[in-house]
Symmetry: C3
Subunit: 138 residues, 3 copies
Amino acid sequence: MRQDQHRFTIHTHGKALYEFTDEVADWLERTGIESGMLTLFCRHTSASLLINENAASAVQRDLLRWLDKAVPEGNHYEHDSEGPDDMPAHIRTMLTGASLNVPVGGGRMLLGTWQGLYLAEHRSASHSREIIAHIIGE
Amino acid sequence: MRQDQHRFTIHTHGKALYEFTDEVADWLERTGIESGMLTLFCRHTSASLLINENAASAVQRDLLRWLDKAVPEGNHYEHDSEGPDDMPAHIRTMLTGASLNVPVGGGRMLLGTWQGLYLAEHRSASHSREIIAHIIGE
Amino acid sequence: MRQDQHRFTIHTHGKALYEFTDEVADWLERTGIESGMLTLFCRHTSASLLINENAASAVQRDLLRWLDKAVPEGNHYEHDSEGPDDMPAHIRTMLTGASLNVPVGGGRMLLGTWQGLYLAEHRSASHSREIIAHIIGE
């Protein structure tokens, strides 16, 4: 058993889902680990990680629309030091989570046919987001 | 340290929570691993995994009722190629997540007294759902 | 590669977020593991774990207010054997989750600048909550 770790940076420009499945697959191949458990971790409290369908882009827009409606922007939050999208970003991060687990076999992530890895950016302004990938296996 | 991996298939027949705690416990025992970290991963974007109370079945019905109300079915989604339960299934999967972590000690999952492992099926039609179990330990 | 496991107990007194980042950091240092993957697991179905901003306490209050509004207490649940905060606690646990993953490097959790580890207590009465920390690394 051995492990490897890597930091990815994703540059975001507004609220959207940013797919990074291919970047992780490329790094995983370079580690040479054939079987194991991969974990992805987002080092922020206003952006999060999720796995969802990567075939139809309408799915991604509907996911964001639901979050927009369920956690509306506005001036009704106690914490609003960075504007109306500040606190909703923290709540949306709570709901979707900071980490993902993906099992690895045959040198590849064992994702289902329609599953892709996404960074969910919940702030309107541009940001650099750090994601740590960690694999334990052999 | 060593690892083991197994694929479970759960046949679902409509929106419900399907407990699979015993199946995982049986497999874990066969691995012979006494202490470690177990991860479960659902290979779908319209079904998800969660841990919740397994004593009162009313809890499971109330969990599903909340999801039904918070993420209503209907024709107001942009993505509706597979019917009114299609997009809500993706949103409910986003909210509940694709993976679970359960620590192992003394050869058993260290679940709390009331905790059970559930596959949450979010589609109305019957499906075969694949779950990957992965254990790292010794 | 090796592993270590520890049980933390957190005494709660009502619905709130209880930070336990420092307790985990102290234990992690004692394990002597420099690099690896840390997993935290909550052994309850009416309390959960989350990572969120630990600078402004208003963030924590707004997170709880959102949960209070999105999952209201009341007598409209089928499962209400322990009072109006019983079933909402299970639903809030489903939404926020039972486990966290935190990568470790240089002997420390690789949390972002503003990230803290929280136990979210969803019941009004006082409770003792058990959290299991598990680290695999070297």
